[in-house]
C-alpha cells in the first residue's frame, strides 16, 4: 500500500493469514494455529461466515455474497462446482497455502473483491533452507491435523512446498448434543517456485486439494468428494518505466454430493458438478512522482456442468441438468489511478468495465429452458461497468476517507441458467432467468480515524443502494421439483434495496502489556418486495486481548452478538437469540539448538454456550467447548 505515514484507511484492507509459516505468529486478535482460513478471515469485522456444516464456510462481505463479491485465489478467478453453494472457493485452499487476504472495495466485477493471496518464497542473498512439521489435535471433534512444509531460497531461485492432512469427526454443540454430519477429511498439497533471470521473474504455483466424506448438517445431503487443481504461471518484468505482469492460470473443480449416509432419503440421487476456468491476467503499472497507474486486464473462460440423476424404486431413473454445460467468457479492464498531490491528500479513481458472453452449450439444457419459454440457442452478452472515486485526507492524528462508487454487475451463471437448484434454507427450487438485467449499485463509504501513540480508532459508515436487485421470487405457476419442497423461485430484478452499516475498530495499548482491540459492527438492509435483506448481522462486539509474560503469549477473544430479529423470511432465515462466546489461547516458543518448537494450547467457546448465528443454515448450532493442542517444529534458518 501507499505511504505508511498515513492512517490505514484504504479501499484495500488486508488480513494476515500467515499460513503455516515456520516463524512464530503472535496472537493478533486471538488467532490460533488451529483456526481455518475462513475463521482467520472473520477477524475482519467486515467479513462474516455462512455455515452449512463444519466445513467450507462461505466468507461474505458486509452481508454481500454470491456474485456480488468476487472471491479470488491469488488473483485467479475460480468458481465452485456445487449448484447449492456448498463449495465456496476458499474451501479449495488450506491455511498453509495462504499469506494474506486482500479485501478490495474497488473491484471490477461485483461490488467487492476478496483475494486470498498464496504464500510465496523470496529471492534471498544467501542460500537457505527452512522447513517445519506441524500437527494439532482438537478435543471436541477429534480433529487431527498433520503437515509439513519446506522453503528453499537463493539469489535467483526459490521453491516452497507444503502438505497437510486434516480429519475431523462430528462435533458436539454447547448442549452436549453431537451434531451429526459435521465430519470431514481434507488433504492439500501446495508447491510454488520462482526464477529470476535479469529483469524477468517467473513464478509457478500449483495446488491439489481434495476433501472427502464431508458432512453438511444444514443440508439434506453430504459431499462425498470435493477436488480442485489450481495452477498458475506468472511472468513479471519491466518495460521501460512500466512494470508488467502476465499470468495464465487454469483451475478445475469437481464436486460430488452424497445422500447415502442419511438415515432416510425420499429417493437416492447422484449430483456431481464441475467447473473449469482458464484465465489470463495482465497488469501494467507505472509510478510517477505523485501518480500511480495500475491497469488490469483479464480474459477468463469458465465452463460449468452439473447434473442430477434420481433413482426411484422399480422405475426408470430420472435425469436433468441443473447446470447444463454453461460457459461464461469474460473480458475485464480495470485501471486504477492514484494521485498524491501532497502529504495530506490522496485521490483514487477506478473505472472498470467487463464484458460477458454467457451460453448454454448443450442442446439438452437448451431444451430444458424451452419448457420455460426461453430460447437459449444463442448466447447472452452483457456489459457491466463501475466507477469508484476516493479521496483521503490525513492531518496529524486524524484522517478521513470518502468513497463514492456506482455501477452494476451482470447476473451470475446460476442466476441466468440454473435449473431447479434446491435451496434447503428456504426450501425452494431456484430457476435461472436468462432475461435478468444487471443489478445496479451505488455506494458511499466514509471512514474516519484517529491515531495516538498507543491507541487507534477507525470508524466506517457506509450505505449501498441497489436497483434491479436480484432476488428469488416465488413463481406460483411452476411445479416444484424437489419432493417436499415449498415451491419454485425464479431469480428476478425485484426493484430497489439498500444496506447501511457501520464498523468501529478501536485499538488500545499497542505495544503495551495488554494490547486490546475492540470491534463493533452492525448492518441493516431492506428491499422493495423483499423486506429485510438477508445476512445483515445484528450488533456484534468483539474484544481481543493479548499479553506477553515470561516468553508466553496469551490471547483472549470475546464475541457478543445481539439477537437477530430481522431474519429475511424470503431467504429462509430464522431469528436467532443473542450469544456470548469466549476463546483463549496460550503459546510458547522453545528455541532448541538447530530448531525451534511452537506449542499452543487454545480453547474455543470456553463457556460451552449453545448458540447459532444468523448465517448458520437451518439454525445448526456452533461447536461447543473445544480445546486444542498444536505443535510446530521448525528447522533451518529462522530469520
Amino acid at each position: 500500500m501507499c505511504s505508511q505515514v498515513f492512517l490505514q484507511i484504504d479501499t484495500l484492507e488486508e488480513v494476515v493469514i500467515n499460513g503455516e509459516r515456520a516463524d512464530h505468529t503472535t496472537y493478533d486478535r486471538g488467532q490460533t494455529d488451529v483456526a481455518t482460513t475462513e475463521q482467520t478471515a472473520e477477524r475482519d469485522p467486515q467479513l462474516n461466515l455462512v455455515c452449512r456444516g463444519a466445513y467450507a464456510q462461505e466468507v461474505i462481505y458486509r452481508g454481500l455474497s454470491g456474485a456480488q463479491v468476487a472471491t479470488l485465489v491469488d488473483g485467479m478467478r475460480i468458481y465452485g462446482a456445487c449448484t447449492d453453494k456448498m463449495d465456496p472457493v476458499t474451501s479449495y485452499v488450506d491455511r498453509s497455502n495462504l499469506s494474506v487476504l486482500q479485501s478490495d472495495q474497488t473491484a471490477s466485477i461485483g461490488f467487492h473483491a476478496l483475494n486470498f493471496k498464496l504464500e510465496k518464497g523470496e529471492f534471498g542473498v544467501e542460500r537457505r533452507w527452512k522447513s517445519g512439521v506441524f500437527s494439532s489435535y482438537q478435543i471436541n471433534n477429534a480433529q487431527r491435523r498433520i503437515g509439513a512444509n519446506a522453503v528453499y531460497e537463493s539469489k535467483d531461485f526459490w521453491w516452497l512446498a507444503s502438505a497437510s492432512h486434516t480429519e475431523a469427526n462430528n462435533y458436539v454443540a454447547g448442549s452436549g448434543q453431537k451434531i451429526r454430519y459435521t465430519q470431514f477429511t481434507k488433504q492439500n498439497l501446495y508447491s510454488a517456485s520462482g526464477w529470476r533471470r535479469g529483469k524477468h521473474e517467473f513464478t509457478a504455483t500449483g495446488i491439489v486439494d481434495r476433501a472427502y466424506d464431508i458432512g453438511y448438517a444444514g443440508l439434506p445431503m453430504d459431499v462425498s468428494s470435493a477436488t480442485a487443481v489450481i495452477t498458475k504461471l506468472e511472468h513479471k518484468t519491466s518495460l521501460g518505466k512500466w512494470k508488467n505482469l502476465n499470468s495464465v492460470y487454469f483451475n478445475d473443480v469437481a464436486h460430488v454430493m452424497d445422500d447415502t449416509k442419511r438415515d432416510s432419503v425420499f429417493m437416492h440421487m447422484d449430483m456431481p458438478g464441475c467447473s473449469t476456468t482458464l484465465g489470463y491476467h495482465g497488469q501494467l503499472q507505472r509510478v510517477w512522482n505523485q501518480w500511480i497507474l495500475d491497469v488490469d486486464f483479464e480474459l477468463v473462460r469458465n465452463r460449468r456442468f452439473a447434473e442430477m440423476t434420481m433413482y426411484p424404486v422399480n422405475e426408470v431413473e430420472m435425469y436433468m441438468q441443473t447446470w447444463s454445460v454453461s460457459v461464461r467468457e469474460m473480458t475485464t479492464l480495470n485501471p486504477t489511478l492514484k494521485y498524491f498531490p501532497n502529504d495530506r491528500w490522496k485521490f483514487e479513481i477506478v473505472p472498470a468495465i467487463a464484458y460477458y458472453n454467457d451460453q448454454v452449450k448443450e442442446e439438452f439444457g437448451q431444451k430444458q429452458f424451452e419448457v420455460l419459454g426461453y430460447d437459449l440457442t444463442k448466447g447472452t452478452t452483457s456489459l457491466s461497468k463501475s466507477l469508484a472515486l476516493t479521496s483521503e485526507y490525513n492531518l496529524n492524528k486524524w484522517g478521513s476517507a470518502f468513497t463514492f462508487a456506482a455501477g452494476d454487475r451482470a447476473p451470475e451463471l446460476s442466476e441466468r441458467f440454473g435449473f431447479y437448484l434446491y435451496n434447503n434454507q428456504d426450501g425452494f427450487d431456484y430457476m435461472g432467468n436468462p432475461l435478468l438485467s444487471n443489478e445496479q449499485f451505488a455506494r458511499i463509504n466514509w471512514s474516519n480515524g484517529l491515531k495516538f501513540e498507543k491507541h487507534r480508532v477507525t470508524w466506517s459508515k457506509y450505505v449501498y443502494f441497489f436497483d434491479n436487485y436480484i432476488f428469488g421470487v416465488h413463481n406460483q405457476v411452476l411445479w416444484q421439483m424437489t419432493p417436499g419442497g415449498n415451491g419454485v423461485k425464479e431469480y428476478q430484478n425485484v426493484g430497489s434495496a439498500f444496506i447501511a452499516g457501520s464498523e468501529l475498530e478501536v485499538s488500545l495499548f499497542e505495544q503495551g502489556l495488554v494490547p486490546t482491540q475492540i470491534t463493533v459492527a452492525y448492518r441493516y438492509g431492506e428491499g422493495e418486495n423483499v423486506g429485510y435483506l438477508p445476512q445483515m448481522m445484528p450488533l456484534e462486539v468483539k474484544l481481543f486481548n493479548k499479553a506477553k509474560w515470561k516468553g508466553f503469549d496469551f490471547g483472549l477473544t470475546n464475541v457478543y452478538s445481539l439477537r437477530y430479529t430481522r431474519a429475511s423470511q424470503a431467504f429462509g432465515e430464522q431469528n436467532v437469540p443473542a450469544y456470548w462466546m469466549m476463546n483463549a489461547a496460550v503459546s510458547r516458543k522453545l528455541t532448541l539448538k538447530k530448531s525451534s518448537l511452537d506449542i499452543e494450547i487454545a480453547g474455543s467457546n470456553l463457556l460451552d454456550n449453545y448458540y447459532t448465528t444468523h448465517l448458520n443454515w437451518n439454525g445448526i448450532p456452533q461447536m461447543g467447548r473445544n480445546v486444542s493442542l498444536s505443535l510446530k517444529w521448525n528447522f533451518g534458518a529462522i530469520e
Partner: protein, 282 residues
C-alpha cells in the same frame, strides 16, 4: 442417457418433400464426384422407414413403408407402386380398407384419408389407428389400385403389436351416452425433454364398420410425474386441426417416468373422460 430424440422422423414424414430435395442434392453431389453410386428416392426413404410389406401382382409391385413397427395406436403407412421395370408409378389411385377378423365377428378401425404426398414418386400416405393387436385376430389390409384402366387388388396381412406403453386408449363416454371413443397419441416416439408438439387423434365408434373422427371436443392436457408429484409449465391444450387431430404443446422438464393426463369435454362442455393418462417414459 440419450440426449432426447434428435432424429425427428415425424418431421421427415410431414415434410417428405424435403426428401425429394435431398435426393436431388445427393445425386447432384454424386454426379460431381463422378461417383457411380446413385442415391435413389427409395434409398433415402429407407434411411427413415422400413418396408413392412410388399406384394407383386401382374406387372405391379405395391410396397408399404412405415417408420415404426405397427402398433396399437396411431400409424402412418406409406405406399409406393413400381412397374415391371422397377420404375415408380405416379399416375395411379388407391383405396385401402383395414379389417380385423376375429372368427365370429369383424370390424374395421379408425383411419384417415389416403393422400398422395409426393407426386413425383407416387407416394401415398394413410394414417391408421389400430385398436387392438394382431394377437386378437387377423389384421388385413385390402388395397385396390387403379392403374392403366385396370384394377388390381392386393391383400396384406399386417402385424400389429401392443407397444410397451399404451399409445391408444379407448373409453366409454361419462356423459351417460353409450358412445365409445378411441384416443391415440400421434408422434409420441419423438417426445423428449423440452417443448414437444403434442398431437392426439380422437375417433368414435359409430358401428363396427365406421369409426369417424370427432372434431368438436375440448381437450386439456397435463404432463405429470407421479413419482415426484410434479407437473411441467407452459403446456398448451390441444385444439382441433383437422380429421379428429388435436394439436398443442406438452413440456417435459426431465427424463424419467411421466404421465400425460387428459380431460376431454364434448361440445356442450360435459366431461366425456377425465382419468385418461398415457404413460410416457423418457
Amino acid at each position: 442417457m440419450a440426449p432426447c430424440a434428435l432424429t425427428h422422423q415425424k418431421i421427415i414424414m410431414k415434410h417428405i418433400a424435403i426428401l425429394g430435395f435431398a435426393v436431388g442434392l445427393l445425386s447432384l453431389t454424386a454426379c460431381k464426384k463422378e461417383d457411380p453410386q446413385v442415391v435413389t428416392f427409395e434409398d433415402v426413404l429407407l434411411t427413415h422407414m422400413d418396408e413392412i410389406e410388399s406384394q407383386s401382382i401382374g406387372d405391379y409391385t405395391l410396397s408399404i413403408y412405415s417408420s415404426n413397427e405397427l402398433i396399437v395406436g396411431y400409424n402412418e403407412l406409406n405406399f409406393l407402386l413400381k412397374d415391371a421395370d422397377g420404375e415408380f408409378v405416379t399416375d395411379y389411385t388407391m383405396h385401402a380398407h383395414p379389417m380385423m377378423e376375429m372368427g365370429m365377428m369383424m370390424h374395421t378401425t379408425p383411419h384417415g384419408h389416403t393422400e398422395m404426398i409426393e407426386g413425383e414418386y407416387g407416394l401415398y400416405m394413410t394414417d391408421y389407428v389400430f385398436i387392438m393387436p394382431s394377437t386378437a385376430g387377423t389384421w388385413s389390409l385390402e388395397v385396390t389400385v387403379e392403374v392403366d384402366d385396370e384394377s388390381v387388388v392386393y391383400d396384406f396381412v399386417l402385424d400389429v403389436i401392443e407397444p410397451e406403453e399404451a399409445r391408444m386408449i379407448s373409453f366409454m363416454s361419462k356423459t351417460g351416452s353409450e358412445e365409445k371413443y378411441f384416443a391415440a397419441l400421434v408422434g409420441a416416439e419423438n417426445f423428449g425433454v423440452g417443448e414437444n408438439d403434442f398431437e392426439i387423434a380422437i375417433y368414435q365408434r359409430e358401428s363396427m364398420m365406421s369409426f369417424p373422427a370427432v372434431t368438436d371436443l375440448t381437450v386439456e392436457i397435463e404432463p405429470w410425474m407421479p413419482t415426484m408429484e410434479h407437473g411441467s409449465p407452459n403446456n398448451v391444450n390441444p385444439v382441433h386441426t383437422m380429421n379428429g387431430h388435436y394439436a398443442g404443446v406438452a413440456n417435459f422438464t426431465m427424463t424419467g417416468f411421466w404421465q400425460l393426463k387428459l380431460t376431454i369435454k364434448n361440445a356442450d362442455g360435459e366431461i366425456v373422460e377425465e382419468d385418461l393418462a398415457f404413460d410416457i417414459t423418457l
